[in-house]
Structure formats: C-alpha cells, structure tokens
Amino acid sequence: MVNVLVRSLDIVLPLLVAFSIAAIVLLTIGENPVEILTLMATEAFGNVRRFAATLSASTPLLFTAVATAICFRSGVFNVGVDGAFVLGGLAAIFIAFKLPASLGAGLIPLAFIAAAVTGGFWLWLPGVLLAKYEADEVVSTLMLNFIAAGISGYLVNGPLLSPQSGNNVTPLIHETAELERLMPPSTLHAGFIIGLLCIIAYWIWCRNTPSGFEGAVVGQNPRFARAVGISVPAIIILVMVFSGVIAGFGGASHGLGQMHRFSDGFSPGYGFTGMAVALLARNHPIGILFGAVLFGALASAGTTIQLFSNIPLDLVNIIQGTVMIFAVIEAARLMKNRRRQTHAV
C-alpha cells in the first residue's frame, strides 16, 4: 500500500510542480490561473464527450509507454519506439488498403500481424547489435528513428501515395478494416481496449513468466543475472522484439482506429511522450495507464482551450516540458546505473 502511495507520488509531484509553474506564468501574463486551469480540467474531463476525447488522445501512448517500459525495466535504453510505431502503422495501413476489401474484418488481424512483424523486426536489429556487438542502443535506436521517418516519408511521398491527392497521404483503408468506435461521435476507438490489453499482458508477463522475471533481474543486476545462468543477450533481444511488437500494435491501432490512412505527421512524437510516461511510472502498469491518460488530457485539453481563452499552445508546452524534466531526471538515474553496471562488467 505504501508502495502504491510512493509510486503515485512519482506522477503527482511532477504534475503539481508543473501546474504551479504554469500558474506563475499565467499570473505574470495577467491571466487568472484558477480560471484557466479549471478550464483545462473541464476540457479534459468535464463531461463524457471530453473524457472520451482525452482517452482517444491517450490511446497511442498506452502502447508506446508499455513498449518503452518493457525495455527500460531490463536496463535496455531503447529510444526507438517511435520508429517502430510509425513503420508498424504504415505496414498495417498498407495491408488494410492494399488487400481486397472482400476480406472484411479479417483485414484487421492481418494488419496487426504485419505491424507486429515490422515493429518486432525493426527493434530486433538494435537488439542484436547490442547483444552480440555491444553497440550502444541509445545511439542505434535513436538513429533508427530517423531512418524510419525517412523510409515512411519516401513511401508516402512516392510508391504509396494516393493517386487521388497531391498531398502526402496513402489511400484510405477499406471501411471493413476500421476499428470500431466505442462512443461515437467521439473518435475513441477499439484501439484503446487493445492498449489496455497490452498493459495487462505486460503486467502478467512481468509477474508471472520466467522471461519476465529474468528481464527484471537483468535490469537490476546483470552480473548477478549472468551468475545465475540467465542469458543476458537473449533477454536483450527478447525485450527489444517485444517492444517492437507492442509499438507496432500501437501504430496499427492508430492507423486503423484513428487515422484510417498514413500521412505525414502520423506520430507527433508518440514514442517520446510514451517514454516520458514509462519513466514517470517507473515502468509500473498502473502508473503507465494514469500517465498516458494525463498526457492525453494535456494534449486534448491543451488544444481545445485555445478555442475558449487566449492561452497559446506554449502554456501547454510549458506544463508538458516541466513534467518531462522529471522524466529526464529519472532517465538520468537509469543511465547512471547503466554506466556503473557496464563498467563493473
């Protein structure tokens, strides 16, 4: 119980600090902080429709946060989730518009499989490079994000471009491949449920499976892990592939549920926001769920308060940035541990 309290403080404290800073900024620019922050809260959670919009905005983060946490808890500093999300999404969308519509809802599992294979393969690469050649995963996964953006940009500007449009988008997916909307007219879609299932699966994997346990041991003390006969390289590759699969699922869910096509701007950095969520949640499933919803709320309310106040997007960026600082502190802590372990080996 105490543990839960301490953990929730990890998320609540950064938020309190962030909102205090936002309040100070609001005061200095002559706005009423209570009014604006209340407006924000109403826009995020004020009624069922707004709450649904918040959950809709948080859906991609459920996947990217879990994908990040899987690696971080094993001490693998994978920052390449965004790339796997983008390429997985593109693969799913390709299946969902290219294969015949007559496949009906059967397109959905096919698209998710394509996304999982693509995402899994994408992060398998840096996994092998790390496990076999000790190539620094921060560098390799960060670089792979740029390559993923390049590949998707090339495809959507060229071979996969919709013939109907001069803009950089693929054709729309078949309607049968679209994920069901949960609360129309909100865009909240079945991908949210899939995201929750991913969190649950991650939880079960952590607690109840041998590889989940081994992953935790590798994260806490790789020397000990080696000493008790755990294959550290095998765990590294495993968590990387898992991470890629979940990120790919996220891309597929975003593509089939929200976007219905691929376009530039498919991921406005969901991988990185997800990383912040995982860090603040210290990889805990419940923390991930709340963190994702909170960041979703910031994104959705931060956008729509512009309709009802003179608050620019920058204020939301300040809040998000302040919360991110705490995530960075956590990241720094992890990195320090990682160095110590590497040197100890």
């Binding site: 905005a57 090339y154 471009l161 013939p163 449009s165 376009s263 994104a299 931060g302």
Partner: protein
Amino acid sequence: MKAMKLLSKSTIALCAATAVLADERPAALIIAQGGLGDASWNDTAYAGFQSGLEKTGITGRPIESPDVVAQGEEIMRRAADGGFGLVISLEWIHGEPMEALAKDYSDTSWVIMNQTREGDNVASVVFGEHEGSYLAGALAAQVTTDTSIRGINEEAVVGVIGGFKAPGIDKFIVGFIQGAEAINPDIEVIVAYADSFGDPAKGAQMANAMFDDGADIVYQVAGGTGIGIIEAAKARGHYAIGVDNDQDGLAPGNVLTSMVKRVDVAVDQIVTNYAADTFPGGEVMNFGLAENGVALSPMTHTRDIIPASYVEKVEAMKAQIIAGDIDVWDVSNEGYPDFFK
C-alpha cells in the same frame, strides 16, 4: 467609423443577442501541420483571418496542435459544440472527417481548402493555379530567348517539374504550357515528374538534366523536391520559378518569379461572407486571377534584370484572362487537353 468599429467590437455579445440576420458567433481557424510561424501557408492564412476579423468585428481564434492530424475530428467537433459558427481548417487531411461530421452540425459553417467536399454547410476553397501558371509560362517564354539577360541562351526551351503525374499537378503544368505557347507556338516545354514531393536531391538532378538539354528556366511544382530545383538554378546561374509561396528570396536573382497562392485573400473573403450572412455553403469557391487568389510574385530580385515590356505583356494577359478573352485549360475540371495527354 473608428468609433463604430470600437463600438461593434465591444458589444459583440449584445449584437449577437439583437442582430437577427447576421451570424455573430465566433470563428475558428484550425492551423495545419507545421503550425504558426511557418512563414508560409499557415501564417499567410492567419494574416487573412485577422484582417477579416478586424473588418467585420467577428471574434475568432486560431487553434494549433502538434497532433492536429490525429485530433482533427475532435477539434472540429469541439469547435462546433463550443458555439463557433464558422470553422475553417487549413489541414488538408481534415477533408474527409469534415464532410462526415458537418452533417451533425447543420448551423455551423465549415470551410476546407484545396479540395472539393459535399455538404450544404461546407464551402470548398480551390485556387486557380492553372491561371497563375499560365502567366508564369507566358513570362518564361518571353525571357527564354532573350540572350541579353544573363544565364539565358537563345534556345526556346523551358522546363517544368511536377511532384507526381496527377491531375492536381497537371493543372499547373498544362496552364504553364498553354501560357508559354501563347507567346511562342514553337517553344519546347520539357515536362518531367520527380515522383516525390520530398526529394530535393532528385529535384536538383532533374533540373540539371533540363539545363543540359537547353532549358534555362524551370518551373517547380514539386513541393520540397522543388527546393533542389531552385538550388540547381542558383548553382548553374539559370532560373527557377517558385510555387505556392513567394520563393523568390530562396535564391535571390535566380528565381524568376513565383506562382503564389493567396490563401490570405481566400480566408479574408470567407470571414467577410460569413459576417455578411452570405456564406457560400455547398459551393466551391474558386480563387483565380480575378479574385486575386493566385498571382505572380512581385519579383523583388528579378524585376530589374528583365525588360519591363515582358511584365507588361503578362499584365495584359492577366487582364484578358479576367475579362474572359483568354480561356485557360483547367485539368481538374476539364480533363486533359489534346496538346497534353
């Protein structure tokens, strides 16, 4: 007059209650990807939005989001739910969702750009790019044989590079060819497609190939690929023609002119119509030369290096197009002409 303006501004709420005819509900402008500060599409549109608001006394707000693409539908619905009477989206990808959700909000006026969408309360804004391109072609055809201008050879050859072989792009290209041939029926216009909007290296390569074939002016209709075309023109001392925005400053002196889309004019016009209760719901608003929706750039860096008579000729042709004496082929409405299949 000023007092009137002030009065109307400060009593908008009152007006909303008393004015029965005109819709005084606020207007929202959804900023496209790239956000404000892009010195391009979004900033230009926002300038038009502000001037429209100022003129009419309507209140309005811009709305930005890093995930404007994914949250588009939620943003549009929120604006309508929140009492906005006019919602303009600058984001191309909002077209399909807008068409669908506009049905749920019949007393809100919706505007989408660069495409045609159905709905009694949806206005589609398209630009007369073929007309602007015609003028660009006419200017290029005059310049391309004038060897007194540096970087120009005597061959009557110009080029145009499109991003893709698509009607939306060929609309520019056909207008350009038609304008060039109106000046010189024997001119050779080399046409090529980069098959990409985001490949400057390929743009440079293709422009260089055209320069090797005797072209000295290349019109770019290829988005980011076109940046490479302009760079190639600068490197070789020849000329490019910019598109969409005033790109003359990207390589001062080597961009002959730019075919500019005046989205500010369009947005201003829409706000004005909305305030006057003449919102063109269900219509396609065409912003061509007559509406000042397309234009050649002011040619800040090149005006002095070409004879004034060329520009005068182009101005005369512009007047003829507006008067209806010249009919410019519009691929997006008329399909492909005989001279360009």
